[in-house]
Amino acid sequence: MAYREKTAWLTLVCMAVAYGIYFPMMALRETPPTLFDILWSFGIIAGTQAAVVIIGHIVLAAQAPGAAGRRPDERDKAIARRGASAAYYVLMAGAILVGVVMPFTEPPPKIVNTALLAIVIAEAVNHFLVLLSYRRGWHG
């Protein structure tokens, strides 16, 4: 498995674990979270996830020193563009939902968490498409 594919797996799995904890935790609360609750919980979880991803990148780079230092080639760039382009549409849909629809129907904490969820889903779509493209091929 290529170095870039491994790092995409690492990021996707860490995201799934981190936000698989955060969003159910928020949804199952009996009282609505305050802004401080959201910032505190999200900050801890996102910070822990970032630390694990950085450590994982260091370990993977140590295992493949040549590949880690190499610049992405045209296929790597095409695959990255494909993931980012799909993620953009997901993020746009989320932005319309939280910025145009939800302010008229939902309380602020729910809007904030939905915005965070949209970002997380967009990023997950990005990494998923990157992995799919490395696995199944890319004819861009």
């Binding site: 290529a2 190499r70 080639d73 045209e74 296929r75 790597d76 199944r136 091929g137 890319w138 004819h139």
Partner: protein, 68 residues
């Protein structure tokens, strides 16, 4: 389905079993990308296709062709 096919694996063999990594090194692509090209999982850019043909000293149409 129509697709681009190539003779890169054969040409590497004829070039003294040149490895995918060696070919990639010559044209600025990774070994994984050369493998993807050989397996038909990635169609290279025109520039990369010309570079590959140049490495083997062949015209482009002898390396890549369109299979309808």
């Amino acid at each position: 389905m129509a697709r681009v096919v190539n003779q890169v694996r054969t040409l590497r063999f004829l070039a003294g079993e040149m490895t995918q990594a060696e070919l990639g090194e010559k044209i600025g692509l990774t070994r994984q990308t050369i493998a993807a090209i050989e397996q038909g999982k990635y169609s290279p850019s025109l520039e990369a296709a010309f570079r590959i043909a140049q490495v083997f000293g062949k015209p482009l149409e002898e390396v890549f062709s369109w299979e309808a």
